[in-house]
Symmetry: C2
Subunit: 409 residues, 2 copies
């Protein structure tokens, strides 16, 4: 490739918001996305929130001519929603499910049911080995009081660790997806600091699209204007990040986002804006050492900040576990008491049953339901506590290694 022209790649990234029965104009929008992908002939399309496999199959059929290779990552109850369409053969795939991903009882949010994950695809393009990652992190429903922040920080940490550990053999690393984090949030600083990934918006030569690169904007008719009130320009939560390893250097030639509606159409592709990055991959004159990029001293602060968030989550999870454990014990005691009373009246010790039978049995129904639900939740929150403790310990170890590295410089 030394004498060859640099490799140019066009990447399309979009959170499609394609939830059956719930997302507005879903079928029209999926049709529109398919048409655009066909016409534009990108090299790679990284899609999120394609929740229905029927939609994926429709896209696959439509795009077979332009994107002969594709993959849908299955996980959770309704699928991960992650899929990729590629012009080039997909050599291998691997899925990593985040160990924490919200709560099953938060039905109105539903993130738990999606089995949020990061999918890895190994793709060779003109002799260059790409490790392409596609992901979607837990949503932020209330920025002021974000109950899911510790889970999202754990996800960002696991994503960073997963990329670091699996990208060693790659020439180029590419990550696309809805990270549900603003550019300055601790999770994204952790992810970028830990992996050395570059932000296509920050690095692009030319940019066209929403101000500040926002991907959730008030101009989009599907976004909630209420949620975006504190951010009149919108927010940027969809990213294309990249880095070149050892022999390769990657640059972003241009970045484009849609601006509320699909170009030349009357409706948007989704409630998110699409991000289209044109990347240029060049072989380096001299290979970079295997030691990777230099460690930034600020990374220590970022890992510490993330660790604090994990600790906050740990306390909350411990509280929840305690509450559920106490509730389960109370319900069990009530049931035992009722059983004893029932038995004593059956054997005739106590001929006069003090409670009407109907309320008595209604109460036992309630106690049984409470016992069952609290026991399951106790188990669930115990797993949450374990995972948060594990992450906290991992971060402690990482900090130590980081400080050793900085100390030896």
């Amino acid at each position: 490739m030394d004498t060859e022209p640099p490799l140019q790649l066009r990447i399309f990234d979009l959170n499609c918001w394609a939830i059956r029965y719930l997302s507005k104009l879903r079928q029209e929008r999926i049709g529109l996305i398919g048409d655009t992908l066909s016409q534009e002939g990108f090299d790679l399309a990284l899609l999120q929130e394609v929740w229905s496999e029927r939609d994926y199959c429709e896209l696959k059929q439509k795009l077979a001519a332009h994107y002969p290779y594709s993959h849908y990552f299955k996980s959770g109850v309704i699928g991960s929603g992650l899929c990729v369409f590629s012009k080039y053969p997909i050599l291998d795939t691997f899925l990593y499910q985040y160990s924490l991903n919200g709560y099953p009882y938060m039905l109105q949010h539903g993130d738990w049911f999606c089995g949020k994950a990061v999918g890895l695809l190994v793709i060779k393009i003109c002799g260059v080995l790409f490790h392409v990652y596609v992901t979607h992190l837990h949503a932020e429903y209330c920025r002021e009081k974000d109950a899911y922040l510790p889970h999202r920080v754990v996800q960002a940490w696991e994503l960073a660790q997963f990329i670091q550990h699996t990208a060693k053999g790659a020439d180029v690393v590419l990550l696309g997806g809805d990270l549900n984090m603003h550019p300055g949030d601790v999770g994204i600083r952790l992810l970028r600091g830990w992996t050395g990934l570059r932000d296509s918006f920050a690095d692009t030569e030319t940019f066209e699209g929403c101000e500040d690169g926002c991907t959730l904007v008030p101009a989009n008719c599907f976004t909630s204007k209420m949620d975006l009130q504190p951010f009149p320009l919108g927010i940027r939560i969809d990213y294309v990040l990249y880095k070149g390893l050892s022999h390769f250097v990657v640059k972003c030639d241009s970045l484009v986002t849609t601006t509320g509606i699909a170009p030349g159409k009357s409706i948007p592709y989704s409630d998110h804006e699409a991000v289209i990055a044109t990347l240029c991959v060049k072989r380096r004159q001299e290979a970079k050492g295997l030691g990777g990029s230099a460690v930034e001293p600020e990374l220590v602060d970022v890992v510490n900040e993330a660790r604090t968030e994990v600790r906050v989550g740990l306390h909350a999870a411990e509280r929840q576990r305690y509450t559920n454990g106490r509730m389960a014990i109370l319900a069990l005691l009530l049931l035992l008491l009722q059983a004893a009373m029932g038995l004593s009246s059956l054997v005739g010790w106590d001929s006069q049953q003090p409670f009407p039978k109907f309320s008595f049995s209604l109460l036992s129904l309630l106690a049984t339901v409470v016992l069952l639900v609290s026991a399951v939740l106790y188990v669930f929150h115990t797993i949450e506590v374990r995972m948060l403790q594990g992450t906290e310990e991992q971060m402690r170890l990482a900090l130590q290694a980081l400080q050793d590295k900085l100390g030896s410089l």
Copy 2:
């Protein structure tokens, strides 16, 4: 290292069978294991089934002088049971939880509650980068009718994929653990074929211990003689596997297993035998190509065989999901019917309640419990179906890549 003597490492691997309140002589055995590890001064000790963190902390305290570095992998409800003690600094750790791991309602087996996983540790020993993996796969409770076989095959596949994707930067790969598979089982052939890992028992220069390298033997007083009846010599399910990458070659100088009791003591360390491998790591004269080892044509058959097992599991999971879905719908219908009857008698349409109130409310209690349990199980089995479908699809893709590779030879 060219002129240096080869690096020699002594690895201790043991499934410790340390379940609080359930495992016999647990505290004595943990004490014994600690004493042996202290006296013998291995380079690495890979332990499984250390379920109680108190036991881990006791070991950590006891071993602080000889093994200053250690790590416990947290996952599941009661912890993964995996821990490692090392003479050399642990630079990084990473945990991958298997996506399938039995059923939460199989309380008597309990594997689900352990959150079975593979732990990765990055350790540098005399300038050689080791990726050390420690794992414990789902147990086999009945070999003739092994309901967990598809889950174990999925775990073996995920383990193989995890090692392949994370070991690229390593000089030496080392895997120790209780794989719960006999040497000829499809899962172990898949793991070894896919990763190119070598079996220390098959490759060792000298061997001392139980016949055939068995690690679950009738001579051990804690093993169930009934379960081992079809195998008079015992079975081999604990392994130390390894491979050298690019610049390094690894050989097994000697392998030792305990033979029913701890050397010089009156009781065994555990119901499993310990495996002690002495490995020799040498720098290769010429680096091996990055392409890795040649693809064996038999691997296609092995992946196909594994895929068939996954398909069998998929059908079983779909049946289970269907049964639970039907049960939930029936319970819901019964509850609705009861609610309608209750309402009609309340508003006086039907002054004569045909059922005694007590049985009526007992029935509603039962219906509610059945509805709750079936709904949760329906969700659980849907996740199982998704993961099995995903693995099957991944294996299909892997087969395709394998056949392309073989075709191009």
